[in-house]
């Protein structure tokens, strides 16, 4: 459906320096899927989105939607944003304050190439307003709407022209935490219901994991990893992705030997010997980093059976209601574990950490990534 290949977008900033916002960005989004560009601020995700929208003119690359080329540097094609027929929701919602709710939504129908009768316009507007649950506010002034309502209004306006592609630029970042959670479900429900191909930009990993079919993690203009939410979370390809998506413990490690099983290694880490599994090839003596999520570390007061058991001492405990964060000292090294709140070992007592080898993600020490960053 959407194909972006070898996209480069650069622009000069206020001081005249060239900002390399998007560098060699390529991805494909199948029909009806929600694709997320995830990354820290300034990573080029918004620029990539705006390049797809046509609001930025890329330096080179190709963008095709539904086999129609909207941008191609080779063929010298650039379709103006107002001719692309994409729906877009801006971070600020960009609700026009001088129009009421109805007119905001009707605007795309009034200015489009296809003309609608007033009756048709009203039908379309009211249908999309009721889809987002705003039908009773049609005549209200747009600025009188609350944050969440403005957000839904912006979505309605983007949907009313039945776009081929929906572009969402951090649509939830201006809402408070509770509302954000609710709108996250709403968005997901509507996207799945309409089956609209959607590009979603966010810096919030929770949003990305919750909403997406597929996620591209970006940093410094480059796409670092593309994969399903599970792949991104469970199998990050490097330290940056592991660190940016979720919390993790990084343990510096050296490969000792490869086990009998093909993907299993024995490594010596700063907290002791571990058995880890990895799909990547490592040789004996290679330096690596083992990433272990806090929720994948089990704590026991008595030494359990099995592999990867390490002794430590409870250093610090934070009770957070649904779970408890426990900082354990292993030698001089702090390790964070997230355990059930029923675990009550007091501070200072020895505990045993148990880590499933499947949950130890071994990644190459990120010399390469550090160079590009």
């Amino acid at each position: 459906m959407l194909n972006v290949s070898a996209l480069y977008t650069e622009y000069p900033n206020d001081k005249g320096e060239i900002i390399k916002a998007a560098q060699d960005v390529s991805f494909h989004v199948p029909e009806g899927k929600l694709f997320t560009l995830l990354g820290p601020s300034g990573c080029g995700k918004t620029t990539t989105l705006r390049s797809i929208a046509g609001l930025e003119r890329p330096r080179s690359g190709d963008i095709t939607v539904d086999k129609v080329t909207v941008y191609s540097s080779d063929k010298n094609i650039f379709i103006a944003p107002n001719k692309r027929k994409f729906g877009m929701v801006f971070q600020s919602y960009a609700i026009w304050p001088h129009m009421n709710v109805f007119n905001n939504v009707a605007f795309p129908l009034k200015v489009g190439a296809r003309k609608f009768t007033p009756k048709e316009t009203e039908d379309k507007v009211m249908r999309v307003l009721s889809a987002v649950g705003l039908e009773q506010y049609a005549q209200r002034e747009a600025t009188k709407m609350s944050g969440g309502q403005q957000q839904r209004l912006a979505l309605a306006r983007a949907l009313v022209m039945e776009p081929k592609l929906l572009l969402l630029d951090e649509p939830l970042s201006n809402l408070d935490a509770k509302l954000r959670e609710r709108m996250r479900f709403e968005l997901k429900r509507m996207q799945r219901e309409f089956g609209l191909t959607t590009i979603y930009v966010t810096h919030d990993q929770g949003e990305a994991l919750a909403l997406s079919h597929e996620i591209a993690v970006m940093n410094a203009g480059h796409i670092i990893q593309i994969g399903s939410p599970r792949t991104i979370y469970d199998r990050p390809c490097n330290k940056f992705v592991a660190d940016f998506v979720g919390l993790t413990n990084f343990l510096e490690a050296t490969i000792e030997l490869q086990d009998a099983q093909p993907d299993s290694y024995r490594v010596s880490t700063c907290i002791g010997q571990l058995t880890v599994s990895s799909g990547e090839r490592f040789g004996r003596g290679d330096a690596a980093v083992v990433s272990v999520r806090p929720e994948d570390i089990e704590l026991f007061e008595r030494r359990p059976d099995g592999a990867n058991v390490i002794e430590g001492k409870v250093d610090f405990r934070v009770f957070l209601g649904e779970y408890m964060d426990c900082q354990v000292m292993v030698g001089q090294r702090k390790v964070m574990a997230r355990v059930h709140p029923s675990f009550t070992a007091p501070v200072g007592t020895p505990v045993y950490l148990k880590i499933d080898p499947e949950k130890c993600i071994m990644i190459q020490d990120d010399i390469e990534y550090r160079k590009t960053a």
């Binding site: 960009a94 001088h98 605007f107 795309p108 200015v111 600025t143 306006r157 951090e170």
Partner: protein, 581 residues
């Protein structure tokens, strides 16, 4: 009983000191009374005077409609009204068009030389209206105007290309002078608009003209209209241009007619008052709608995100065209006026630039001015008035502002409006009102420096209020409350917490008021008497005497002094991080 309780209970709570309580109310009461007195008294007497015959030693004042009848029964008044409106409308539209075009070039295109645009914000401060007008007379008067003479010698004709002594000339000079104000206001309007409002229209499929009409224009309409209104008000109350350019050829507007009515012999105060009341009505309506529109503008501010600054439009080769437009504009508003003053200040008798005149350069005019008998006292008066007025205004308005911003006192909105009321007074009308008041209420200030001081404080009170409000809003209520919890009285809190925190704003406002008071002309012109002249009055007198060369020398020194003051203000502003309101 445990120890902690003991400590808390130990010092018996002192009875609330009535002196501290009173002290607070004395200061607040004095400030409120002063503001009410300054804002309302002259206005009341102006209205009163317009319905009465002048009081003399032999005749008591009598109620009459004659002033209004004289003012409104003649065809001249119709012409007067027509002239005023034409002049103000022309000026505001001209200034608006220039200002908006420049603001657009600066904000939305990649025109080179952008750093020069910064200068636009200080030019109106460093070149006072009277000098700007005089400079343009030297440039474009039919007889001695350099531009005319140069063009005539190029084309070998005696055709007068530019006649500054005309309605068009007045609009040209005043419009240029106010264009930088239009530029500043429209720049703010361009900046405050979220670019994604236009981008979302683009994504909805709207074409560029559709966006310009449905979104950009309709959204900026309140700002445009408010800008036009404030420009209209400023130009209908401007005095220097109509007096210097209009009066010699008989083009009368309200301000110049008020001046004439007073300076006639016998002076017709009642008639002047009738004109002044009309003018005041016009400016009040203008300011009222302007402030209403401005507050309506905030209705249009929606949630804003991190906001992608709209990327500057690439004009390609056209950017050299826009840059040259800007250079021409800069020449018209700063370089030419300053150079012509500089040139004429170096002459013995005014003459047009030529090789012969070049050999006659002399500093005689500077010597003349520096030894001019009234110069020392005029400079002294100006400095004394400016410093005194600025100090007084900033202190009084800081209290007023505290009441308005920080307390829940009923009727504080009224106080805010009272202190802002002088904004609607054209300078000349304020001068007239103050004059009438102290002619009738003889407390010995008429003819002294005090009357100028009172008028200046009244006139610049709204500026002080604006500066103080901006910085007062940044002081969190808890800073005061914690001082109170530490045991400080209101006076101590105000002196030790609020004033020091306000200091950057106070200082910036103080310097600004010093600058505007030093160049004040239209209020002083009705209130000065021999011995209390200020510098701008000295310039006015030199002009009336036809001493152009000496005037130019004084003007050049004046501009340089103001320039240094403005630079100082900018420096202070940057150093203390003052955001101008």
């Amino acid at each position: 009983m445990n120890v902690a309780e003991n400590i808390i209970a130990a010092p018996p709570a002192p009875p609330r000191s009535w002196r501290h309580f009173d002290f607070k109310w004395i200061i607040i009461g004095a400030c409120v009374a002063l503001v009410a007195y300054l804002a309302l008294m002259p206005l009341g007497f102006l209205l009163w005077q317009s319905f009465f015959t002048p009081q003399t030693a032999t005749k008591a004042a009598k109620f009459t409609f004659n002033n209004y009848i004289t003012a409104y029964s003649t065809v001249e008044t119709l012409t007067l009204f027509f002239n005023s409106v034409t002049f103000a409308t022309g000026t505001s539209i001209f200034a608006f068009l220039i200002g908006t075009a420049l603001a657009w070039m600066n904000e939305r295109t990649n025109t080179p030389l952008k750093s020069l645009f910064f200068a636009l914000s200080i030019i109106p401060l460093i070149i006072p209206g009277i000098l700007f007008t005089v400079a343009w007379i030297l440039l474009a008067s039919p007889k001695i105007g350099i531009v005319n003479l140069v063009l005539q010698s190029w084309f070998h004709t005696d055709y007068v290309f530019f006649n500054i002594y005309s309605m068009w000339g007045m609009i040209w000079v005043d419009g240029l002078h106010y264009s930088s104000m239009a530029f500043l206001v429209m720049t703010a309007a361009f900046r405050s608009m979220d670019p994604s409002l236009e981008e979302s229209a683009m994504m909805s499929g709207a074409s560029v003209p559709q966006i310009a009409w449905h979104i950009t224009l309709k959204l900026t309409w309140p700002a445009i209209f408010a800008t036009l209104l404030i420009l209209f008000v400023r130009s209908i109350e401007s005095f220097e241009v109509p007096a210097l350019l209009g009066l010699p050829v008989g083009i009368h507007v309200f301000t110049s007619s008020i001046y004439q009515a007073i300076h006639h012999y016998p002076s017709e105060i009642g008639l002047a008052s009738a004109y002044a009341v009309t003018l005041l009505l016009i400016t009040t309506v203008g300011i009222y709608f302007q402030s209403k529109l401005s507050s309506q503008g905030s209705k249009y501010s929606t949630v804003t995100g991190k906001g992608f600054r709209p990327r500057a439009m690439d004009l390609g080769k056209w950017r050299y065209v826009t840059a040259s437009i800007f250079v021409v504009y800069f020449a018209l508003i700063v370089i030419l006026p300053f150079l012509v003053l500089l040139w004429s200040s170096l002459q013995k008798f005014y003459s047009v630039p030529s090789m012969k005149a070049l050999s006659n350069l002399t500093f005689d005019a500077y010597q003349f001015i520096l030894t001019y008998p009234t110069l020392i006292s005029a400079v002294g008066n100006s400095v004394l008035l400016a410093v005194g007025c600025a100090t007084m205004v900033m202190l009084v308005t800081s209290v007023i502002c505290w009441i308005v911003v920080k307390t829940k006192l009923p009727g504080r909105w009224l106080l805010d409006n009272l202190a802002s009321l002088p904004m609607v007074f054209p300078g000349l009308v304020l001068g007239l009102a103050v004059m009438i008041f102290y002619l009738n209420v003889d407390i010995g200030v008429y003819g002294t420096m005090w009357i100028l001081f009172i008028a200046y404080v009244t006139r610049f009170m709204p500026y002080g209020l604006r500066y103080n409000t901006t910085s007062m809003l940044q002081i969190h209520k808890e800073l005061e409350e914690s001082a109170e919890m530490s045991g400080a009285s209101w006076g101590t809190t105000f002196r030790r917490i609020i004033l020091p925190l306000l200091k950057p704003g106070l200082l910036a406002g103080w310097i600004y008021i010093v600058i505007v008071s030093i160049r004040e002309l239209s209020t002083s012109i009705l209130l000065y008497s021999p011995g209390t002249e200020v510098v701008s009055i000295l310039i006015w007198e030199l002009w009336e005497n036809g001493q152009y060369v000496e005037l130019s020398a004084l003007g050049v020194m004046f501009i340089i002094a103001l320039f240094m003051l403005v630079m100082l203000a900018q420096f202070v502003g940057r150093k203390f991080g003052v955001k101008e309101g």
